[in-house]
């Protein structure tokens, strides 16, 4: 696969599975990400939206190269047009690629917020950090608090600031906004937008579909460990008519402000994935082809869809 030069991050056919042991020596493979496709252009905010338990957070770990030892990765990752090898991942994480983790449990419970935000690199960005804290509405003494003394919203803002302090070109934000007040969430998102305008890219991993639709440039709909549709966020604001994949349409319908109609059935368990299209068991328009063969990613109307019937 020849990478494009105008993208920052390109992911082709990424699969991640875990080796698990059941009943002693019987080894099973747990496929958590299957044939995932994703591209992130410079200055673009890409939202990866999907329900809980769909393997979204593992995508972040796979890009950073910090998956557990029992994980097997296949597929291609390209960063700035070059293969993202384990060695490059080691060099890039924390400098070119930064992570905003999910919750306060990602902070060392026994280290004060200030030094923890500054990180291990020298010189310590103390000035920059206090300016950033002010900007995010964090009181001056926040730096002297331990993580357990932070409120949920404060902890989020501290986590966001760890990434904003670096000169990263790509920021992977894993559920960055829950727990923040609306104002705080908007301020954090404004910061992301500002960075995007400055040419940086943001990969926003979220289950907050509204947020993804409203805020991102591109939305990738994530289902059972793969991207079923990638389309401009504007298509998602229009509605099912502009969308390509049955799951995206169903997801749109399930939102409270739309039909509030739930998608029937359950997301398949990673240890027991269907043979063909991952959405086929729940799909209203499935055919025999869908249940036997995995549909390829196709270009449809300026977006991409992994469906035989998507139009």
């Amino acid at each position: 696969m020849q990478p494009h030069n105008d993208t920052l991050l390109e992911i082709h056919d990424l699969s991640v599975s875990f080796r698990m042991y059941h009943h002693g020596l019987e080894q099973t493979k747990l496929q958590v990400i299957s044939d995932l496709q994703l591209t992130v252009a410079p200055g673009e905010i890409v939202a990866v939206a999907g329900s809980s338990g769909s393997g979204k957070s593992l995508l972040a770990s796979a890009i950073l190269g910090i998956l557990p030892h029992n994980a097997a990765v296949s597929g291609h990752l390209h960063y700035k047009g070059q293969e993202l090898t384990a060695e490059r991942q080691r060099q890039l994480r924390g400098t070119e690629i930064a992570l905003v983790p999910q919750s306060v449990s990602y902070l060392d419970p026994l280290m004060k917020t200030g030094p923890q935000t500054d990180g291990h690199r020298r010189p310590k960005p103390v000035e920059k950090r206090s300016a950033l804290f002010r900007r995010l509405g964090l009181p001056e003494q926040t730096a002297k608090l331990y993580p357990f003394q932070l409120s949920g919203g404060m902890a989020r803002r501290v986590l966001v600031s760890t990434a904003l302090l670096t000169d990263a070109r790509l920021i992977i934000a894993d559920e960055p906004t829950p727990g923040m007040s609306l104002d705080q969430a908007l301020e954090a998102l404004r910061l992301f937008r500002e960075m995007a305008k400055a040419g940086k890219s943001v990969l926003l991993i979220t289950h907050d579909i509204d947020l993804a639709f409203e805020f991102a440039d591109t939305v990738a709909v994530f289902y059972a460990g793969t991207t079923v549709e990638t389309a401009p966020a504007s298509d998602f604001r229009i509605g099912p008519a502009a969308l390509r994949h049955p799951y995206s349409k169903a997801l749109w319908q399930s939102l409270p402000q739309n039909a509030f109609h739930p998608v029937e059935g359950f997301q398949p368990y990673a240890g027991d994935l269907p043979k063909g299209c991952l959405f086929a068991p729940r799909c209203p328009c499935k055919t025999t082809q869908c249940t036997t063969q995995v549909p390829p990613m196709r270009e449809v109307r300026g977006g991409k869809v992994r469906c035989y019937h998507g139009t």
Partner: protein, 331 residues
């Protein structure tokens, strides 16, 4: 500042009361046990005299010691003496029990301190090495060594060390805390240390495996936490992670373990001191037990309770001082 002072006073009062009630309970319980035991203190005293005693003289001695009074009165008599700091007189050594404990404990203190520090430091370092190399060969090897050491009895290990290093290689003396035939004031520090090394090493072998295995497990738990994952995501490498997050998070449980090991330390010193004929508190315990020296046995029992309780108290206090989460909760 005044609030901190008030808190400290409260804590010390609290622990003081706890310790006093513990000592009261231990003294009463041990008195009851001794009373129920077949040891006849008068007989032991007479044996200690080394001369024959007529039945009249024996009756006189019994009257002098108050042996025939009811147990409750005897207990109260002993307790009131205890409150005045009088632990009684040792039947074996013919000296006040308090003096013997003081003298023997100073000898033991050197031994236990050396063993305690080396076990703590070696155990912690080995635990870190094992934790950082989980399931690699270094970890597997050290883990086996630790299991082996913690399952081997101390006295046997002491005998083996004695055979190899003292009898065989003649690197260390066979026993005692100073060379035989040298007057007390002429013993040099080096000679004392020379006599200390082997017993201290034996004693430390007993607990360092335990500390190493605990530290290893704790470090592994920490390394699997989400904050370590985030540290990796931020580009921290193994040694930076250990320095910035690992040590910080495993030091507290390690310290607690270290201070609560006072009980094993004391128990171990009985074995180690007997094997090496080291004149410490541990060998005094077995001498008092075997010789039926009731006052000394009771005195040492009380003292060991105090010793172990102090260790636990220090561990509790340290937690409150070091861990910010507990510090906050105590406010």
């Amino acid at each position: 500042m005044r609030r901190t002072l008030g808190r400290l006073v409260r804590i010390f009062l609290l622990y003081g009361i706890r310790m006093l009630t513990l000592l009261a309970a231990v003294s009463i319980l041990s008195f009851v046990l001794i009373n129920a035991s077949p040891i006849d203190p008068v007989q032991q005293y007479i044996l200690g005299l080394g001369t024959a005693v007529s039945p009249e003289q024996r009756a006189e001695i019994e009257a002098y010691w108050g042996v025939n009074e009811p147990p409750l009165e005897r207990c109260l008599g002993w307790l009131s003496g205890l409150l005045q700091g009088n632990l009684g007189e040792s039947a074996l050594f013919r000296r006040p029990v308090a003096d013997i404990i003081r003298e023997r404990f100073l000898n033991s203190l050197a031994l236990m301190l050396c063993a305690w520090l080396s076990a703590g430091i070696i155990g912690f370092v080995l635990g870190c090495v094992m934790g950082m190399n989980q399931d690699k060969w270094a970890d597997k090897l050290l883990k086996k060594v630790c299991y082996l050491l913690s399952s081997v009895p101390t006295f046997w290990l002491g005998l083996v060390l004695l055979l190899v290093f003292s009898v065989g290689l003649k690197w260390f003396p066979i026993g005692f805390s100073s060379p035989i035939g040298v007057r007390g004031q002429d013993v040099t520090l080096w000679q004392k240390l020379h006599h200390l090394i082997l017993p201290a090493f034996t004693l430390s072998l007993m607990s360092f495996a335990n500390i190493a295995l605990h530290t290893r497990q704790k470090l592994i738990d920490v390394l699997h936490s989400e904050y370590i994952l985030f540290a990796r995501a931020r580009g921290e490498r193994n040694l930076t992670i250990l320095r910035r997050h690992g040590l910080r998070n495993i030091l507290l449980p390690a310290l607690t373990l270290q201070f609560t090991s006072f009980a094993e330390l004391f128990g171990g010193s009985v074995m180690a001191e007997n094997v090496f004929s080291y004149p410490g508190l541990g060998s005094a315990v077995s001498a008092a037990g075997l010789g039926g020296d009731v006052p000394l046995l009771l005195g040492i029992t009380l003292f060991s309770a105090l010793f172990v309780c102090t260790g636990n108290m220090i561990a509790n206090l340290l937690y409150g001082i070091i861990d910010p989460r507990i510090r906050e909760a105590e406010k």
